[in-house]
């Protein structure tokens, strides 16, 4: 271990050159909240650590085309504290808020959450439902990918040697959109998801769902984009019947494992329940963007108080 080198490049080009030029294993070091623990446990033994927190493009949050671009090395706390971002993407913020304690979030990054490739990573289903694009830079230049195409199985990602996730682009939101992420854990804080569910939906002026994305975490080898579950919402007023179909489609998409946190049957059942609850929150958030006098908003309020 004493052989391990540490570099903190100031540019992406320098970081890519270091990573692709390394003879042994080279690891990107973001917040280190996964990597340092894996190193100490002897699960990874990099020859080189490339600390990317000094690269400005990777640590900034900027408005772009009416949406947001945030660097993969932005910490969870910085993202949560960014008021405009949290307002535009409450569901993504729900997911990021769930990552560990305040201490962990002070270091942990969304790029690290994605690239660590845990199927239970809490920001990933929310980013998938948001339709987030990932900008990747490597020895062959820059390319774009979807969040759902990065993790392939536990601990494995689709990046080539020398490639770095640089930033996430979240698109401009149509009016009357809302997103939500919920996870089920035995404890309310500091636990790993048994099931995570993200829903992002948009309503038209009449309150009919025109677009939806649904994603599930911790129920397969990676977070899943479940288009059948989204299809259950599109064209409906997200009423009880649509929510029931959504829950059934979510459960049907699961291919979970049994572990100490839950059995297969349990995860499959809970996935439907969490997807439905996330959809209810996403609906309430999208309805709240109608004018206070709008009939939909009033209906939603009555439903809330039942």
């Amino acid at each position: 271990m004493s052989e391990m080198r540490y570099e903190a490049p100031k540019t992406l080009a320098a970081a890519v050159a270091l990573l692709s030029g390394a003879k042994g294993q080279a690891s990107v070091l973001a917040g280190g909240t996964d990597l340092l623990i894996q190193m100490r446990a002897g699960r990874v033994e990099p020859e080189l650590l490339v600390d990317i927190k000094g690269i400005p493009e990777m640590t900034s949050i900027v408005a772009e085309n009416g949406g947001f671009r945030f660097g993969a090395a932005v910490t969870c706390m910085e993202l949560i504290e960014h008021e405009a971002f949290a307002k535009a993407w409450p569901g993504v913020t729900d997911g990021v808020k769930l990552i560990g304690s305040i201490q962990v979030k002070g270091r942990a990054t969304v790029g690290g959450n994605l690239c660590n490739a845990s199927p239970a990573a809490d920001s990933v289903p929310a980013l998938i439902t948001a339709g987030a694009a990932v900008s990747i830079v490597g020895p062959n230049g820059r390319r774009e990918a979807r969040v759902e195409d990065i993790a392939t199985e536990p601990g494995k990602i689709s990046l080539a040697k020398g490639e770095i996730v640089v930033s996430f682009l979240l698109p401009r939101r149509p009016p009357h959109s809302g997103d939500a992420y919920l996870r089920f854990t035995p404890r309310t804080e500091m636990d790993i998801a048994v099931v995570g569910a993200g829903v992002n939906l948009t309503l038209d002026e009449k309150g009919v769902c025109s677009q939806a994305r649904v994603s599930l975490g911790a129920v397969a080898e990676r977070a899943l984009l479940v288009s059948e579950a989204a299809a259950a919402l599109i064209g409906t007023k997200v009423d009880a019947a649509a929510l029931k179909r959504l829950a059934a489609a979510a459960s049907a998409a699961c291919r979970p494992i049994d572990d100490k946190r839950g059995t297969k049957e349990y995860r499959i059942k809970v996935a439907g329940v969490m997807a439905r609850r996330a959809a209810e929150i996403a609906l309430a958030r999208s309805v709240s963007s109608f004018a206070p006098t709008h009939s939909l908003r009033k209906t939603a309020r009555t439903q809330d108080s039942i």
């Binding site: 004493s2 391990m4 080198r5 540490y6 909240t33 623990i37 650590l49 201490q103 962990v104 002070g106």
Partner: protein, 158 residues
């Protein structure tokens, strides 16, 4: 390989130290700099005993490498009181008997100070969430929460 030469600020004082790449900030504080107020409970980010702030951010020092702190400003428990002049949080911890073995206490005090800097008037629930990253095996938390709320009250008056 040669050790890294790091220059940082700890509790307002400039410091220089040498460390290996794998050494955590926690190890540097305790083993290289003799600042043993910061404790190790788990070494995996779960217990918060090693809490410090780096450039004003609350972090687990067991999850930060020493070499990552080049040019940074670190606050540890040693900088909290001045001589016998305790910080209100420290005084309230004594008054409320909010500690037993004391291993968790430095981390909880640092986390509580950070919480009160951001939210001077927290509810009990906010204090419990704010300290959710700090485990205590002795007190049952109740006295800790009372002490933090009482300190917050006093600090708001000051």
């Amino acid at each position: 390989m040669a050790k890294h030469h790091v220059t940082a600020t700890i509790n307002g004082n400039g410091v220089e130290f040498l460390c290996e790449t794998h050494q955590t900030l926690l190890e540097v504080l305790r083993d290289e700099l003799g600042l043993t107020g910061t404790k190790e409970g788990c070494g995996t980010g779960d217990c918060g005993a090693c809490s410090v702030t780096v450039d004003g951010r609350l972090v687990c020092s067991c999850l930060v490498l020493g070499v990552e702190t080049e040019g940074k400003s670190i606050q540890t428990i040693e900088g909290m009181g001045v001589g016998k002049d305790l910080h209100p949080l420290q005084r309230k911890f004594l008054e409320h008997a909010a500690l037993q073995c004391g291993i968790c206490t430095p981390g909880i005090l640092i986390a509580a100070r950070s919480l009160l800097e951001r939210n001077p008037n927290p509810t009990e629930e906010e204090v419990r969430y704010g300290l959710a990253g700090n485990l205590c095996r002795c007190t049952g938390y109740h006295k800790i929460v009372d002490a933090v709320l009482d300190a917050a009250r006093e600090m708001r008056r000051a």
